[in-house]
Symmetry: C2
Subunit: 342 residues, 2 copies
């Protein structure tokens, strides 16, 4: 019943599906089905194929599969940073959502650079991905064109879009910035500084929310803004606190555009003997793990990063399957965490 194994000794020592099929005494196509669509093959043959797979140690060749089926089973994910905990949690959500689906996730780090993003998208397109997850809404015109031409489904993460056709999962950065500023205003602060670094699109949106709230309260003053393009770090937060106090000595509260800066600012206050929040209130953005534990604990905005990744991946998967999702824009909101520092 069982034919002898194929012995075309190919150059590559690799075990191929054809060898498995020969070993099991079935056609290659049947072996293929036994592996990828077991329901379509009779129990008896399926068992023989399965056994042959084990005996020969067969490992399918993804490249061949992709080529023949024009389905890469690859999803490309672009994040602006891997050292930022925000995005690693987004990635965790994505991985969990895609876990069982046998998707290969291609993680790209754009380092907050449009050029890098363009380069990465170009590279990833060579892998013919079934879908892409991008961070942010704004991309260079060339990127937009490349994406349109490629017809790859794309879901944008982290912020809400005004374009209703764009698939988006996130929360409104503007509203979050507004909410935090309002909180400080309601606490009675008048001279509220805004400390920002990196100046990526999310930061700029938060700044927008800040200005909106300050404007409404008649408190807007550009002396209260310290914004620099360097990457956001604790060390920079410490430094920028100094710059802020030099620029606006009467400042009574500081809204840092993220927790790293806020941590640095708090530590620096401690070193200078400035008491937080008595003399200066400080708050951050993102609610990193340390924020709840440090002393004083940090008032900040908790953002649903894990869920953003999770829901974005689920949405993308649905679109890849050809479904037309009822909800193209998923707003996951945010939570203001009032703690000791403000």
């Amino acid at each position: 019943m069982i034919k002898p194994a194929a012995n075309k000794s190919r150059a590559s020592g690799r075990i191929t599906l054809a060898m498995v099929a020969a070993h099991a005494g079935v056609a290659t196509m049947t072996a293929s089905r036994a592996i990828t669509q077991p329901d379509m093959v009779s129990q008896a043959l399926r068992d023989r194929v399965d056994q042959a797979v084990v005996e020969l140690g067969y490992v399918p060749n993804r490249a061949a599969r992709a080529l023949a089926s024009s389905q890469s089973k690859v999803i490309a994910v672009l994040v602006p940073s891997l050292s930022n905990a925000v995005f690693t949690e987004v990635l965790a959500g994505i991985q969990d959502a895609l876990d069982a689906d046998d998707y290969q996730i291609l993680i790209g780090n754009t380092r907050y650079s449009d050029k890098e993003e363009e380069k990465l998208i170009g590279t990833y397109l060579q892998s013919n991905p079934d879908g892409m997850l991008l961070s942010g809404l704004s991309h260079s015109p060339r990127v937009q064109q490349i994406l349109t031409n490629s017809r790859v489904p794309v879901v944008s993460m982290m912020d809400m879009s005004t374009d209703p056709s764009q698939l988006t999962v996130g929360f409104s950065q503007v509203q979050a910035g507004y909410a935090m500023t309002r909180y400080l205003i309601d606490k009675g602060h008048k001279r509220i500084g805004f400390l920002a670094a990196q100046l990526d699109e999310r930061t700029l949106r938060r700044a927008e929310g800040y200005r909106q709230a300050m404007q409404e309260a008649g408190l807007l003053d550009n002396k209260l803004e310290v914004m620099v393009g360097e990457p956001s770090t604790i060390a920079l937060g410490a430094e920028l606190l100094g710059r802020m106090l030099a620029q606006a000595p009467d400042c009574d509260a500081i809204f840092c555009c993220n927790d790293d800066l806020a941590h640095g600012a708090v530590y620096q206050c401690q070193r200078r003997g400035i008491s937080v929040p008595a003399q200066l209130a400080i708050c951050g953005f993102n609610d990193l793990p340390a924020s709840a534990w440090m002393n004083p604990s940090l008032t900040t905005v908790a953002t649903p990063r894990y869920r953003i990744g999770y829901e974005a991946a689920k949405l993308l998967r649905a679109v890849i399957k050809g479904e037309d999702p009822a909800n193209k824009q998923i707003d996951l909101g945010f939570t203001l965490m009032a703690r000791e520092s403000a």
Copy 2:
């Protein structure tokens, strides 16, 4: 001179190399060479091909390339965690080292699980990677066998191996654990606790170093060890500090197996009114960014994570090219950062 473009309207709307070649009026093979080995093609034809590539917006198909050349240009990287800053810095080093080489990096997160690792390696082997970068030395027997069978070059990162044939880049975790413990002993501490979580192989090696030093000084006492398997977090550090003090109230110093735990322990001391280092010295491991800035600043061991990634990737690249590296074991050492907390 230029023939009309090919118009075999393939099912996939994709622009193929054949179309580019037709558009440029050359053979497919010539177009292929013009793109991948430009030196082998005359200036004139090369220009025509380049132009056709741009005009048609040609994107090479990586799967086809991999299949035909049996070179995937993929390097798989396995790390136990993405939320741990240590490994994201390793990744940064890898990316920088491999930047120009047109390698595709497949990042896998094993979540500190042997099973996950096995699964990921199985998946990644389907992509026929040119090489692999693994974290740690110890892998399940099955993984070892799979790797041996696949004949994929592997470089192990993070620790030093005793097997001289194994390609390794890292530093001795045992020595680092020993050094930190000695430091505390030399400072006059007698009851030095060891706080550990996660209990992955690196943590266990550090524990080994700790015990060795304590043994030598005649200070070893298992009441001084608190080790749990849960993931390492700031919150857990805070909790375990309590457990340590309950278990060994006379403890006068604590060596935390990583900075997260140490941060939690320090914060918890502050809440309990225990002064660090006067009443209790605390030190960590890894030197995360916050450690230098928090108050008190944290005594810890700085580890060359970025360089580990960088050198490991360079070593792997050399091996892939067929070179036989003189130095198969690269020890990048570590640095004890003496700060305020101990």
